[in-house]
Symmetry: C2
Subunit: 108 residues, 2 copies
């Protein structure tokens, strides 16, 4: 009835491709763990979501570009962003030398 | 437009009382940071929420008791639970010697 786990355990190998895992889904929200290792969004690809997202980097390092901003934001462990619906963004860089672990909360 | 911060920065002093801070609120979900240091739920108090909650301990140590279970669950960094609506629970213990930092996602 109560689902449990450890956010940092059983990390998948993301050296080949970024891996997204659904940790929880309930009325109003989805919680995901995303593991990246060196991936970035494809050139000219932008996420354009119909829902708001709150995302925090809990391990590793990444750069996220918000459309209209001059440079990507560098994200280190603990850094979070609340991205409103339809604010276009892309992952500009993730550290190839270690897993970057994101916790993402998607609204509806 | 994009709200940012660091989850581990500017920790409030929770040695006197547990402190809950709203990090994000958007359609479907609220994201909170809760800092405890030695507090527990009052005797015989149970959280009984009309919405589902996903909660992870990201620093420190705590014990959470789910109603009907024989003993509290010990939570260490990374340990998470998805608590369905109306599953009664209480905080049995938090480490008095260090801040325990929880990230809670409340659905609707």
């Amino acid at each position: 009835m109560v689902r449990v786990g450890n956010f940092f355990a059983d990390l998948p190998d993301a050296s080949g491709e970024e891996i997204t895992q659904l940790l929880a889904a309930f009325p109003g929200a989805r919680v995901e763990r995303i593991v990246s290792q060196g991936q970035a969004s494809p050139p000219d690809f932008w996420y354009d979501q119909a829902w708001a997202e709150w995302v925090v980097v809990l391990s590793g390092a990444a750069e996220l570009l918000i459309e209209g901003e001059a440079a990507p934001r560098r994200l280190r462990p603990g850094d979070y962003l609340e991205i409103p619906a339809h604010v276009r963004h892309r992952v500009a860089w993730t550290d190839p030398g270690q897993p970057t672990i994101w916790l993402a909360v998607h609204g509806e």
